[in-house]
Every structure is written in structure tokens, then in C-alpha cells.
């Protein structure tokens, strides 16, 4: 069940970058580095000190887990963060810290042991207004850290500075030479930080007696020690506030992401690893190398998300509003939901596993169920589907003895719309291969209804196919259209179905063919999860003599040609962008196996053929075949049926013939107006006389509602059933006449 709130939680757009996720004390590296880059050194130091507690110690002893995680490391060299931290620490020594007022909480905590853990937690508690007695049995604070000073890893001044910070704090009493061997009265909580060995007191969280990991040597794991100090702070504070000892939260792995390195230029580190005192210039140059990683993986691969210009979180927020049933809430993500091409690239790259393709689809269904999905955004496609499955276009051709049917060719709805010859050629080949065993069913697989979230209509389309399959004795379906193949695999699992291309590749086998030149196979987005089909297409193309040059996005990263998800009715502009992006992805002519892709490229002026062009037509002439317009796409489907159903009375030419100049024809296509629509308007107006004459031009204008759309035609009768069309337009507002 779709839950936008869960999506918002899952989306890791705001997650820490890989470096911060790997940092045991969670330094906000992105913020810190950015501040160094712009020269705000004091502010950067504050960001650092907030997590590091003792910056001077951390910047010398941290084992650099961030460098391991830094994505730049894959390209050239990781950001030298420890050197940047050293730079900040050196800078900070030239400034005197500004004291600020902390209200006294009037609570007292005893911390036993002034090693790194004890010092860190004492300072943290004091910074929150608790009075801390830091009891140390030896004559100096610092514990095992002095060993690091002695072996030269930690400068003396770094440790002295840390101890001085404790001594200077008005809420800390540093009690040296004070061993604690038994319970001490007068404290709200006691914390044992004596490190390895037996603790002087047995911990008893229920009575406010806590201990940090006694077996851990701070020199072994400085960062883990500080992290534990941080965790214990919350435990102790929780006990003081509510009297209950909650165990420290498990510090599991922090969710993060791997950003793309595409387009990042190589640049070597500006600071040597181990440099004791980098200069401000070196620090700024090193900070400038930081990629400031954020997760924008989905946006990077999705034209739609880029087009709407919202962050993924904002999109999810808008989705929540859009699915809100309250009438007054604006559906701010409606157009985004309806603009998803359903290519699925975003879900492939999302580290949180969010499947935005499925989210959009489910949202469409939810809105459709509520009656809140405007027909303007999808019903053109449902009408086209109804046409394909209706009397004028749908057909079933069975062999003379239907029981012999072993294969059923289902070319889908668009192959014949583009060129009826595609279907007759493919069916002709099949009949030649399997005489008397192949049947043909034309029509739509139901994808438009599925994408429009119209469950009933979708079921109807599936039932039609299932019924034909049953009637023919359950033959194996052969599908040339990759979208049909995807839809069958999702919704008609019980029907055995093969890609026509796999079937052909197996039967045709390798045959020597004269070279035909170089093409790029454009894998339709719906073929992404059909690697066998993609291979079969390549085998067929190579068998036909084509040399193949792969596109940057192919196979499992196949991109959309613009037609997917039927987005044109929602945003013609976005459709145009996706289409031109796909057409421009490669310099070679394209060979594709989705006819919508083929026609999209033809409309863009990109030389492209369908695999059937290569197989059965003089392919060279077909690269520049124009994409048929919307009216022709209908007529082509009628023509196929006319041609194949012999007993069908020959289709009469229409009573009304329209003269339309090419520019206006293009406008009609843009407005999704068919000649059928206009013939109906003009026919009714001429029969009833209900039309308006413009005395200035001599043109008639008439209108008529058809379904949910009102069509207008401005025309002039030329006699003998011929009409010159001057303009045509349509709207969805209903006129009360």
C-alpha cells in the first residue's frame, strides 16, 4: 500500500554523505569542508569541535575511516580530511574561545577516571549545565593518551589544551590523586570510565551507576571511545531527567549512498597526507576538491524529475498532498505522476530501493479509483485502445482448422498503425514457417488502461486476449512489441508467450549476408528486463549484415523514447525533451524493435528503422520513412483489417473528404484531433444547419461534443463532399447550450 510518509522516511536525499556515515563520531564533513572552502574557518572549527569534543586529539589520532569511504578515492585521491582538521585546529589556537552562558542544571555527576572517555563525557555533561566531579587516582589527567604523546603521535599541546579546557570549565572539578573505591553520596549519577581492568565499583544502572566499556584501550580505538562517551551522555542524562536507565541506542550502520562520478574531473590532493600544518591556501584547494556528495541518483537519470525541478523529498511531499482526499488540497504532483515514462531507471539507482515507477502507477490507480484523475491526461489513449480493440480494427485470423493453431501472432496495436505491411509481412513469414499452424490476433494488450490506472478497462483488454487464446486451443503467443511482452509477463502469466525476435533468431540462425553498414540498436525501455530479447535482436541484426555500435544507454539501462507512460497528454514539452534526448543519444542510425520508438525518432528526423524493416523491406529506403500522423494511424489499422478479412465488405471512402494543408495537419496532430472527429462535426453541421457563418471570411464554424471533448471545425464547402479546413480545435469544458 502506497504510503508517502514512509517514502519520505526511506528517501535518503538528506542522508549523510559516505564520509560522515563512516565517521564514528558523525562529523558533518560536507558542512565543515564547505565552510573551509569559503574561508569561514571559525565556523568550520565549530562544526568540527561539536562532534570531535577534543579537536586537537581527534585530528592527530583518528584512523581516517572517512578516507576509505570518500567516493573521490575511486577517481583520484580521497579528500584529506584529517589534514583539513589539523589546519582548523592550528587556526583555532590563534583565537581565544568565546565563553557563553550555560544555565546551572543543579545536578551533580561523578565521573571516575580522567582518561579520554572520562574527559570527554565530563566536558559534554558540563557543556549541558551538569556539575561534574572528575576523579582521577593519578596525579594527572589524560590516562593512556600520554603514551601517544610520548611516541610522538600526539603533540603535547593538543593534550594540554584538552586538560586545560576541563580545568577552565566552571562546572568541572578536576580532582586529581583521588581514588574512588566505594559509593559516593551527593551525586545524581556516577559514571565509571577507568578503562581496562577491574572497575572500582560494580555498575548498577538502576541506581545511577554506569560504566563505559572497561575493556577498551582508548589508544586502540580513540573514535569508538569518543562515540561511547557521546552515547553514555544520553544514558546518564536520561537517568537524571526521568530516573530510568535506558540502554544506549545501538550505533548501527548509517544509511548512505554512492554518488555518480560522471563528469567529475580528476584533481590530485592539494595536501600531502600527514602534513602537520597545511596552509590556508592548501586547505581551500583541498576543500574545493570535495564533491559535496548528496544523493540525487534518481534526478540524475530522470528527465521528468529534472523537468519539474523539485527535490525527491519535495516530490514525495507533493505526492502526499495529491493523494489527500480533502477537496481543497491542490494536487501539486498530479502532472508529475502522469509524466512518469515508466522506464524504471530511477528505481534501479535508488539506494533506498524506492520504486518511483510503481509509486506513480499506484498513485494513478488511487486517483482513478477516487474519480479524481482528469480524463484530459489520459483518455485520448484509452480511446485509441478502444479503437484498436473495436469493430473497425480488431481482427482474429485463424488457420482453416483452428485446432491446429500452435502459434498466435499478437502484433499489438501500434505496429499496424505505423504500417499495415509490418503485420502482413510478419504473419506471412510465420505462415511460411508453420503452414496452417499460425493465427493472428490484432488489438491492444491493455497497457494504456494499466498506465491510466483503469483496472476495469485493463481487465477487459486482458479478457479479450485470454478468450481468443482459449478459443484457439491455447497456442503459444508470439509478441514483437516489447511493451506487450512486459504486459503479458505481468498480467497474463498463464499464457505461454515468446518474443517474436527470440523465435525468429532461433529459426533463422546465422546466415552470411552482405554488409549493410553500422547502426545502433535502440533498446526500448520496456525491454530492460528482457535480456534474451535484446540478445535475439542483436543476433538478427548482425545476421542481416549490420555492424552494431552500442549506445551509452542500452540493455538494462535502456532509456525511453518519450512514448512510455503516455506522457504527451500531460506534458507535450517534456515528451519533446525525452524524445529529442533519445534521438540524440547516438550518431548512428537507429535500429529498434518497438514501433513507437521508431516513429518517435522519425518524427524527430532521426534515421531509424524497425527490425521488421530490416527483415522484410528494402531497409535503406525505410530509414527516413515519415511517421504517419494520428489520422493515418487509424486508417492504417482499418486498412489492415480490410486487407486480411476477405469477406468484409470493402470500406467505403468517407462521404466527407477534407482538404488540409500540411501546417494545419501538424497542428491537428499536436492537438490530438483526428479527421474522424472533424468529419463528424462537419457532417452533423451540414445535416442540421447548426453552424455559424463568418461574413468577413465566408468560413463556417461548427462544433460538436464527442465523448468528453468538444471539437470545433472552421471550414468551407468546396462541393461534391469536399471541405477545405481552415482550423480545428478542441476543449473539455462543457457548454450549456
Amino acid at each position: 500500500m502506497l504510503d508517502p510518509h514512509k517514502l519520505a522516511r526511506d528517501c535518503i536525499m538528506d542522508a549523510p554523505p559516505p564520509c560522515s556515515a563512516a565517521c564514528p563520531i558523525g562529523v558533518d564533513v560536507r558542512d565543515l569542508v564547505e565552510r573551509i572552502r569559503i574561508g569561514s574557518h571559525s565556523a568550520a572549527y565549530k562544526v568540527y569541535a561539536k562532534s570531535a569534543i577534543f579537536p586537537g586529539i581527534v585530528c592527530h589520532l583518528c584512523p581516517r575511516p572517512c578516507e576509505q569511504a570518500c567516493p573521490r578515492g575511486e577517481l583520484d585521491q580521497s579528500i584529506r580530511l584529517l589534514e583539513l582538521e589539523k589546519f582548523l585546529w592550528r587556526q583555532s589556537q590563534q583565537e581565544s574561545p568565546r565563553p557563553f552562558f550555560i544555565p546551572d542544571k543543579k545536578k551533580r555527576v561523578l565521573v571516575i577516571g580522567a582518561g579520554l572517555a572520562g574527559m570527554a563525557i565530563a566536558l559534554k555533561l558540563a557543556q549541558r549545565g551538569y556539575f561534574v566531579t572528575l576523579a582521577e587516582q593519578s596525579p594527572r589527567a589524560g590516562g593512556a593518551l600520554w603514551a601517544a604523546v610520548e611516541d610522538g603521535r600526539l603533540p603535547t599541546e593538543a593534550l594540554q589544551e584538552a586538560i586545560a579546557a576541563l580545568e577552565a570549565h566552571r562546572f568541572i572539578e578536576l580532582a586529581l590523586n583521588r581514588p574512588v573505591t566505594g559509593p559516593v553520596e551527593g551525586y545524581n549519577a556516577t559514571l565509571i570510565c577507568t578503562g581496562p581492568g577491574t572497575p572500582p565499583l560494580a555498575p548498577d544502572p538502576a541506581r545511577g551507576l554506569f560504566a563505559t566499556g572497561g575493556a577498551r584501550d582508548p589508544m586502540q580505538d580513540v573514535m569508538a571511545c569518543l562515540r561511547e562517551a557521546n552515547d553514555m551522555l544520553h544514558v546518564v542524562e536520561g537517568f537524571i531527567k526521568v530516573g530510568r536507565a535506558e540502554p544506549a541506542a545501538e550505533g548501527g550502520a548509517v544509511a548512505t549512498f554512492r554518488p555518480s562520478l560522471a563528469g567529475v574531473e580528476r584533481a590530485p590532493a592539494a595536501v600531502e597526507r600527514g602534513a602537520p600544518a597545511p596552509t590556508a591556501e592548501q586547505a581551500a584547494a583541498e576543500a574545493a576538491r570535495c564533491l559535496r556528495c548528496t544523493c540525487s541518483n534518481c534526478v540524475d537519470v530522470c528527465e521528468m524529475l529534472q523537468f519539474y525541478g523539485k527535490s525527491p523529498k519535495k516530490t514525495i511531499e507533493d505526492l502526499s498532498d495529491t493523494l489527500n482526499k480533502t477537496p481543497l488540497v491542490q494536487k501539486t504532483a498530479l502532472r508529475q505522476i502522469m509524466s512518469c515514462t515508466q522506464c524504471g531507471l530511477c528505481s534501479d539507482v535508488c539506494p533506498a530501493g524506492i520504486d518511483f515507477k510503481a509509486v506513480c502507477l499506484e498513485s494513478r490507480g488511487l486517483l482513478q479509483g477516487l474519480g479524481q484523475l482528469p480524463g484530459a491526461l489520459y483518455d485520448y489513449w484509452l480511446e485509441d485502445m478502444a479503437f484498436s480493440n473495436g469493430e473497425e480494427a480488431a481482427l482474429l485470423l485463424a488457420p482453416a482448422r483452428p485446432d491446429d493453431t500452435r502459434y498466435l501472432l499478437f502484433p499489438g496495436c501500434q505496429l499496424a498503425a505505423s504500417d499495415p505491411g509490418y503485420v502482413t509481412a510478419a504473419y506471412g513469414w510465420l505462415e511460411g514457417e508453420l503452414p496452417g499452424a499460425a493465427a493472428l490476433l490484432t488489438g491492444c494488450c491493455g497497457a494504456p488502461a494499466y498506465w491510466a490506472g483503469d483496472r476495469a478497462l485493463h481487465e477487459g483488454a486482458l479478457a479479450r486476449i485470454r478468450a481468443a487464446w482459449e478459443a484457439l486451443g491455447r497456442p503459444t503467443l508470439l509478441l514483437p512489441c516489447p511493451t506487450c511482452l512486459e504486459m503479458f509477463s505481468l498480467h497474463l502469466k498463464e499464457l505461454p508467450a515468446l518474443s517474436l525476435w527470440s523465435f525468429m533468431a532461433e529459426r533463422m540462425g546465422p546466415a552470411p549476408a552482405p554488409a549493410r553498414g553500422v547502426v545502433s540498436v535502440f533498446d526500448p525501455c520496456s525491454s530492460k528486463y528482457a535480456p534474451a530479447t535484446q540478445e535475439a535482436v542483436r543476433a538478427l541484426a548482425e545476421g542481416l549484415g549490420y555492424a552494431l555500435e552500442e549506445l551509452p544507454q542500452a540493455r538494462e539501462t535502456a532509456a525511453c523514447c518519450g512514448h512510455g507512460g503516455l506522457i504527451y497528454t500531460t506534458s507535450a514539452e517534456l515528451y519533446g525533451r525525452v524524445r529529442s534526448g533519445a534521438a540524440g543519444a547516438g550518431d548512428r542510425p537507429y535500429l529498434t524493435y518497438c514501433v513507437n520508438c521508431r516513429d518517435s525518432f522519425a518524427a524527430e528526423g532521426k534515421p531509424a528503422i524497425h527490425l521488421l524493416d530490416a527483415l522484410f523491406f528494402p531497409a535503406q529506403e525505410r530509414f527516413m520513412r515519415p511517421a504517419p500522423d494520428l489520422s493515418a494511424r487509424r486508417d492504417n489499422r482499418r486498412r489492415l483489417k480490410n486487407q486480411l478479412v476477405k469477406e468484409r465488405p470493402h470500406m467505403d471512402s468517407p462521404d466527407i473528404r477534407l482538404e488540409i494543408d500540411p501546417a494545419l495537419r501538424a497542428t491537428l496532430n499536436r492537438r490530438l484531433i483526428h479527421e474522424d472527429n472533424l468529419r463528424a462535426v462537419i457532417g452533423a453541421a451540414e445535416a442540421s444547419g447548426k453552424k455559424v457563418l463568418d461574413g468577413a471570411t465566408g468560413h463556417y464554424t461548427a462544433h460538436a461534443a464527442q465523448g468528453r471533448v468538444t471539437f470545433w471545425a472552421e471550414y468551407e464547402p468546396l462541393g461534391a463532399g469536399v471541405y477545405r479546413l481552415y482550423d480545428a480545435y478542441a476543449h473539455r469544458m462543457v457548454i450549456e447550450e
Binding site: 498530479l334 447548426k690 453552424k691 455559424v692 463568418d694 470545433w712 472552421e714 473539455r732 447550450e737
Partner: protein
């Protein structure tokens, strides 16, 4: 509107006149003045209005 003077209803042979007309979309109704036939009420809407303001309002209402 310039067209008003030259537009005639062919069914009634009357000149169209600006009249109040109700348009409905997505459950919202509003009144606009459009050229209409005083006899049969036939309406004329020019292309510029359909492709301009009407389309804009349709889009707004779709997101309501």
C-alpha cells in the same frame, strides 16, 4: 469582439450577440459572455479563447 458583427447563425439566420453562457468543468461551473444566437442559443468560441484562457483554466481545475 470584432467577430460579433459578422457572425451569423445559419440555422436561424440571426446575427450572434454577446450573451451569458455557462461553462462546466471538473464539477466547477462559471458564467462567461460569448457570442450566441438569440434564437437557438448556438454558441461561438474562437480558437484564441480555446487555446488560451480556456486551456489555462482547464489545467488549473484539473489540479484542484
Amino acid at each position: 469582439m470584432a467577430e460579433e458583427t459578422t457572425l451569423r447563425c445559419c440555422a436561424c439566420n440571426l446575427a450572434l450577440e454577446p450573451r451569458k453562457t455557462t461553462l462546466n468543468y471538473m464539477g466547477h461551473g462559471f458564467s462567461v459572455t460569448l457570442p450566441r444566437c438569440p434564437g437557438c442559443g448556438q454558441v461561438y468560441i474562437p480558437e484564441a479563447l480555446v487555446s488560451g484562457r480556456m486551456l489555462e483554466v482547464e489545467k488549473q481545475l484539473e489540479e484542484k
